[in-house]
């Protein structure tokens, strides 16, 4: 099984030269640590920066320079700052090529739930609803099962959804899966994880065609 950093590392393989990328809070943020060599991407953070750089050195933190997770960051040479309306114009207007988000649940039809557990927990949707409604390419980074050991890849989301039919690909600690009209299509297995184990851990419809290769990290 992959740890969180390895999930991020696998997702980073989806980055392509020239992409503008929005990374959500949590595992997605780690993707920035694994940009493949020889390609150039720019990270957009919806609180108003394009060209987000790494965390600052100890002592260089600036309260006026944070990402959407409220972490202190740096700005790369050539970065740009803008207001929230302009930021979401970039997102809604499909100027961002890839969005990576965390999720509590994903359905076999590509619905995503990640903002609320009724009566228990309300994080709020933040920018997630705008992102999932407009982005052309949405990858979800999450664990295959929740803390209770229940599958997070479902026939239908049980929690209030963030968006309808929007997820294209899911990368978990066990597998890479694509959302297809037939359900979750198994693309790759995590090193040492069998197809059988993935089958048992997936509640939604799982499509297995031919030999399923192991991920290469």
């Amino acid at each position: 099984m992959l740890n969180k950093n390895q999930i991020a590392q696998r997702i980073a393989q989806e980055l392509k030269d020239g992409y503008y990328v929005n990374l959500g809070i949590g595992i997605p943020t780690l993707v920035a640590n694994y940009i493949p060599e020889g390609i150039e991407v720019e990270f957009q953070s919806e609180n108003g920066i394009l060209g987000m750089g790494p965390f600052p050195f100890d002592g260089d933190e600036d309260a006026d320079l944070i990402n959407a997770g409220k972490q202190t960051i740096t700005a790369r040479a050539g970065a740009a700052f803008f207001d929230s309306a302009t930021s979401f114009a970039m997102i809604r207007g499909q100027h961002v090529q890839l969005t990576v988000l965390g999720a509590m649940e994903v359905s076999e039809t590509g619905d995503i739930a990640n903002w609320k557990i009724p009566g228990k927990m309300v994080k709020g949707m933040g920018g997630a609803m705008d992102l999932v409604a407009s982005a052309e390419n949405i990858i979800v980074a999450m664990m295959h099962a929740n803390r209770e050991g229940e599958s997070k890849l479902l026939t239908k989301c049980s929690l209030p959804i963030t968006g309808v039919g929007c997820v294209k690909r899911v990368v978990t600690d066990m597998a890479v899966l694509d959302i297809t009209p037939d359900g979750f299509k198994l693309i790759e297995r995590a090193p040492g994880v069998s197809v059988e184990e993935i089958k048992n851990a997936t509640e939604g419809r799982l499509v297995i065609e031919g030999e399923i290769p192991e991920m290469r990290l």
């Binding site: 953070s45 919806e46 609180n47 108003g48 920066i49 790494p54 965390f55 600052p56 050195f57 100890d58 002592g59 260089d60 933190e61 600036d62 309260a63 006026d64 320079l65 944070i66 990402n67 959407a68 997770g69 409220k70 972490q71 202190t72 960051i73 700005a75 700052f81 803008f82 207001d83 929230s84 309306a85 930021s87 979401f88 997102i91 809604r92 903002w115 009566g119 228990k120 927990m121 309300v122 994080k123 709020g124 949707m125 933040g126 920018g127 997630a128 609803m129 705008d130 409604a133 407009s134 209030p160 959804i161 963030t162 968006g163 309808v164």
Partner: protein
């Protein structure tokens, strides 16, 4: 056209219980902390506050939550603010959560004289309940209405006597749209300068949107998630 007032007390002149306020900032970044402190001191109640977040438990809008001065919050993110979440779940405070981009655009629309607009964000979710749906280019969108406020309270880096504002870094966020959408807009700035000192090419908020401006006495600028890497 000198819009300079002596401080947050003068800036908030006319504020009453039950009013609607917009407050700029994302998390604790770019929040009007001097004016928020004054709102706590004044003790105005039953406020409707439009702000992306509600600060943290003991800073920013969290201070108004502590004193139960807010009747209703319109926000996009609760996050790690435990009191906000608790007041919401217990029903003690009314909360309208809306997508962040819709929040920004609703403020912009309010200031720009556009009563409503269609957006795909939130279609098929709880957010769409009771809202008109229309299909454009084969894709369903929901109707979102403009937001305005009795007072919009923003924070900028530099400002001049005419109310022209420049923000710094990601502290800009919601401030420019909210500045447009207030019946009365208050700007608190780190540095108040004479007209002519700000380059007109680099003004973010033109002074026409600002009614009252003052230089904040001090800015704590608290950091919510101090994240650093080691010097190698």
């Amino acid at each position: 056209m000198n819009k300079v007032v002596s401080g947050p007390q003068a800036a908030l002149k006319g504020i009453e219980d039950g009013m609607t306020l917009m407050l700029g900032g994302f998390g604790l970044c770019g929040i009007p902390e001097n004016t928020i402190a004054e709102l706590v001191k004044l003790g105005v109640k039953n406020l409707t506050c439009i702000s992306n977040n509600a600060g943290v438990d003991d800073f920013g809008l969290g201070l108004l939550l502590q004193k139960r001065q807010i009747r209703k919050m319109i926000s996009s993110y609760v996050g790690e603010n435990a009191l906000f979440e608790q007041l919401m779940l217990s029903g003690e405070m009314e909360v309208e959560l809306i997508p962040q981009g819709s929040l920004a655009e609703r403020c912009r629309a309010g200031g720009a004289g556009i009563p409503a607009f269609f957006t795909p964000a939130g279609y098929g979710t709880e957010v769409a309940e009771g809202k008109e749906v229309r299909v454009f280019n084969g894709k369903p969108h929901i109707l979102e209405s403009a937001l305005t406020a009795d007072y919009a309270i923003v924070k900028a880096w530099k400002g001049d006597h005419l109310g022209n504002l420049i923000y710094k870094g990601t502290a800009r966020n919601f401030n420019p749209m909210m500045a447009m959408a207030g019946k009365i807009t208050i700007a608190e700035v780190e540095e108040l300068v004479e007209p002519g000192e700000l380059d007109p090419n680099f003004i973010h908020t033109p002074g026409i949107f600002v009614n009252r401006i003052f230089q904040g006495e001090k800015f704590e600028k608290r950091i919510e998630q101090r994240t650093v890497r080691a010097r190698s």
